[in-house]
């Protein structure tokens, strides 16, 4: 019987090795972050990681001062972001579209460690990052995109013109591990997401040697609507289930 379900978070990340490339899903604080997988890797302490994450975040910090003109944000219960791994000095490279701007009085481990020369940051336009990950999943080694030429992020890249439009060469971004967060899974690894938490999670599923899905609920094979499966199980290697979805753990 095919069964991709692994019992514990610790067990499911046990083979993450030093220097591994980890693709981590999510988009900002409130939106489908595999917090328990991040915490398990934090507890394991593996170093020299490259993390690929749209919004790495700042780890565990006192709450930032709210912008007066923006509604108050809240975070899901027991939320941790990829910045926790940076804060714990486990990361040597970050590939990202949105590291954020440090706010006065709120430390940003990514910015601090970049200045100290502890880690490097590769800035990637968000759409290019998504497509590089999709390309890895689809077995396409590289592609040309019109985003970048004429800007800082096109510098040093091979440029070619197609129908009069300059485009730059970008390479597939394959990981050793993808950490994705989904709503429901079955034992075959078929996934359904909730709302906008699909974001980079569904892009990253299948784009690494090993894809691990952290899910709220495990359902029986046959319970996920074949017409409404967001990520076919073929892209998922391991599933770990939240014991208390409401508490975020």
């Amino acid at each position: 019987m095919i069964n991709k379900v692994v019992e514990s978070y610790d067990e499911v990340v046990a083979d993450v090795f030093e220097g591994a490339i980890i693709l981590i899903g999510g988009f900002g604080p409130a939106n489908g972050t595999p917090s328990n997988l991040i915490r398990a890797l934090y507890a394991k302490g593996t170093k020299g990681l490259t993390i690929v994450m749209n919004t790495p975040g700042t780890g565990r910090q006192p709450p930032p001062p709210q912008f007066a003109n923006m509604p108050k944000r809240k975070s899901p219960p027991n939320y941790d972001n990829g910045g926790l791994l940076i804060q714990n000095h486990q990361v040597s490279k970050v590939i990202t579209a949105f590291p954020g701007t440090p706010m006065p009085g709120v430390p940003s481990p990514l910015h601090d460690q970049r200045i100290a020369g502890e880690l490097t940051v590769e800035m990637c336009p968000q759409g290019t990052m998504a497509e590089r990950i999709r390309a890895a999943r689809a077995g396409i080694p590289a592609f040309f995109t019109p985003t970048g030429p004429g800007t800082l992020l096109g510098e040093g890249k091979e440029i070619r013109e197609f129908n009069g439009v300059p485009a730059c060469l970008e390479y597939a971004l394959k990981g050793d591990f993808s950490f994705v967060r989904a709503y429901k899974a079955d034992r075959r690894g078929n996934l359904v997401y909730k709302g906008t938490s699909r974001n980079f999670n569904a892009t990253m599923a299948g784009a690494s040697t090993v894809t691990i899905a952290e899910v709220d609920y495990l359902v029986e094979v046959g319970d996920i609507d074949p017409e409404g499966t967001s990520t076919p199980g073929i892209y998922v290697d391991r599933v770990v289930v939240r014991k208390n979805p409401e508490e975020g753990i």
Binding site: N31, A97, C124, L153, T196, R198, N199, T203, S230
Partner: protein, 141 residues
């Protein structure tokens, strides 16, 4: 130097560009506020780069707030009939593939030719490009 417009006035002015049937992407910050000024009687669809088409206004009450329904600013919004979700590569296929009719971006500086500076300040690298570069290209022409 002319007096600066306040944010609400800027958002109101932006919303005057909204036309019937448009698919509109609103960037982080002030552009998001333009969603509050849709011209009466016009049907427009908002696109969020994080994978949503057709969401509604900002969530206000506790009951309305849903961590799994946010716009590109990370602000929680409300659902509307006809809304749909998709993953990031699909979302940027819509953007780069020029399927979005109008995109509103925040900016630091803009030249008279339309060159836009909006994601990094020299000396304060690495900046945060987000989806702006893909959006600016996808909305060109």
């Amino acid at each position: 130097m002319p007096e600066k417009l306040d944010e609400q006035t800027m958002a109101l002015r932006v919303a005057k560009e909204f036309e019937e049937g448009m698919i509109i992407n609103l960037g982080f910050g002030i552009p998001t506020q333009a969603a509050n000024f849709i011209p009466e009687g016009k049907e427009v669809i908002f696109h969020a780069e994080n994978g949503c088409l057709g969401f509604g206004r900002a969530a206000i009450t506790e009951e309305e707030q849903d961590f799994n329904l946010v716009n590109a600013s990370g602000q929680m919004v409300t659902p509307l009939p006809g809304m749909c979700f998709f993953e990031h590569a699909e979302s940027f296929s819509m953007i780069r593939g020029r399927h979005i009719d109008l995109c509103v971006l925040g900016g630091l500086q803009v030249s008279e030719k339309g060159d836009l500076a909006n994601w990094v300040i020299p000396g304060r690298e690495p900046g945060s490009v987000g989806g702006a570069m893909d959006l600016a290209f996808g909305a060109a022409m």
